[in-house]
Symmetry: C2
Subunit: 351 residues, 2 copies
């Protein structure tokens, strides 16, 4: 209350310190529980599809939501060609605000945090949708998000064996190297079909910005859970349509997923189940050990909200934030111009 | 290029230094020219109505736009009861980004900057709409925005006499005090009608969040320019409807103004002129010395964009910014998780 101008800020450096202080596995587990908690109260959130600004090179999006007490939004870009100039394909930052005053209460980097929440959401969905005792996961596409997926599934489901495939073998080698010492056994495979051998779960997380077929229908056996992460914008999918027709499909927010997800290949009224309903006990998840379940993940604002409120809850105990002078706080709220005049006087005196 | 993680940040303190270093009058004049420049190329902007999140206490809005090369958005709240807790009714911050990469290139406070751009837009509109040689302006409502209006009209139009009225006389006294030494003569008036005596322009900028009648039809004489700033959300207007029917009405972005502006009192197809068309020479502004012109101002994203790009252009010469570690920049763009691992190693070594 005494410093109304200050907003706590979590830089990239402090986010890395925070994740390492908590430990990536524990971070995933706790974040997964916050996401689950927010999904269970899904109906208390204002939900709108993200607001995109498209260009030839990519997209910039704003993703707002509110639970009536706290408002949050994320800024995120998606620029597939960025790697060529040494930049991230996806960068993000986010804000939480107090609905009662409209004042921001947290500004945070979200490039790392988005990677964490995407993986924690995937593993939390799989907790409800994969077969019990699933231990082996195929990961097709071994880029920046794949490590986070492996760690989240280890932490939340106990997956301790991953079978890796990427058209670029060096990507699989990179991923396998990062998993050394995590208790996850990594096997590098020669093809997608090879990776699926004996897998209880398959995660597809490739980066192509086009209709691709990362999974063919004949690769997908009974009982598998498909965690489809990479298809996440109009014109970008990873699964052959026939797979969708054999699967029970679970989504975050249907109006958004029908535009951006794998189900953009299906009719607008094709039946899907909302993930929150499964978590809240209002809909069935996996119906049998032979069913094929598909989480058609595109990412939704509520997950970012969960991630931001988890980070915020950790700030006081860890102190891993800076104070940002973001909000004007004149002595008299009516006298904004007077604050400028007094700042000038102070500078004169300081000379 | 060498520090891809850094985004320049203009704090409240640095914004005050910047305005004082340039001088409020010169700042208004230069900002007015940037706004005019952007209004002339109005059709090159992506335009959407702002995205609001309403609550019982107020509203939080996101206002994005893009010209295809630069993307900008503003976060702004409106909470009329905030003054009771010593907070600003309106606070804001904004971001500019490079469309080609999606990377933010500026984060700035915008509480002060919004006050400046609102006033600069009003005065720039009046440059095209008020009678030539207008020198006297009535200001009804003498709160936080009124000082900025007076300075902008002095700077951009040469208005050197203001006639002040507020239901709270202490607000008028406050404003008059801040105008001492600016070359603007301030007269405190006993009523709105009194304030309008001999005025070439009337600015209404009251804070009531309800339908109010700050100006009656019989107060408004021929040839005046009305700068209606305070009516800026659904259910909040300041002018008697009869005034609108006698006026030539100019607006920023019709889909937004029809919801938020004075013209919410009129039919949805009531003819109005877009301000940018006047500035671009595509529509008439003032048609005669006897016409009543009305700028129904609600504020639009393009004005914030102009203000942010003006501030950005001043950063290198003034150095009035900080470097914010906002964007993750791993050595290998694919290896975001590896960046976390290496940060942990660094911390171990540092112990």
């Amino acid at each position: 209350m005494d410093k109304l101008n200050i907003v706590p800020f979590v830089s990239v450096e402090n986010m890395m310190r925070l994740v390492n202080a908590i430990g990536p596995e524990r971070f995933m587990k706790e974040l997964g529980l916050v996401i689950e908690d927010d999904f269970r109260r899904w109906e208390s959130f204002d939900k709108v599809a993200r607001i995109p600004s498209h260009s030839a090179e990519g997209v910039i999006e704003l993703m707002p939501t509110s639970d009536g007490e706290v408002y949050g939004f994320k800024y995120v870009n998606g620029h597939p060609k960025n790697a060529r100039s040494g930049r991230q394909t996806v960068t993000a930052f986010g804000v939480l605000s107090d609905v009662a005053t409209g004042y921001p209460v947290l500004l945070s980097e979200m490039t790392i945090l988005t990677a964490l929440r995407t993986a924690a959401t995937s593993a939390t969905a799989a907790k409800f949708l994969a077969r019990k005792n699933a231990r082996t996961m195929a990961i097709i596409g071994n880029g920046a998000q794949s490590d986070f997926q492996a760690i989240a599934f280890k932490s939340i489901l106990g997956v301790d064996k991953v079978r890796l495939y990427d058209i670029d073998r060096s990507a699989s080698l990179r991923l396998a190297r990062n998993l050394v010492g995590t208790g996850i056994e990594a096997v590098i495979c020669e093809s997608g079909a090879d990776a699926l051998e004996g897998a209880d779960i398959v995660t597809t997380v490739t980066a192509d910005k086009q209709y691709a077929t990362v999974l063919n229908d004949n690769m997908v056996g009974e009982g598998i859970h498909i965690n489809a992460v990479g298809g996440d914008c109009p014109g970008k999918t990873e699964l052959q349509k026939e797979i969708l027709l054999r699967s029970d499909i679970f989504v975050e927010f249907p109006p958004q997923t029908r535009i951006e997800g794998e189900i953009q290949q299906l009719d607008d009224d094709y039946p899907v189940t909302e993930l929150w309903q499964v978590m809240a006990g209002e809909a069935d998840g996996r119906k049998s050990d032979r069913a094929i379940t598909l989480f058609d993940s595109v990412g939704f604002a509520v997950e970012d909200f969960s991630a931001l409120r988890y980070v915020r809850a950790k700030l006081q105990e860890t102190g891993l934030f800076e104070e940002l002078d973001l909000l004007a706080d004149p002595d008299d709220p009516r006298d904004l111009f007077g604050m400028l005049l007094r700042a000038k006087e102070r500078e004169k005196l300081a000379v």
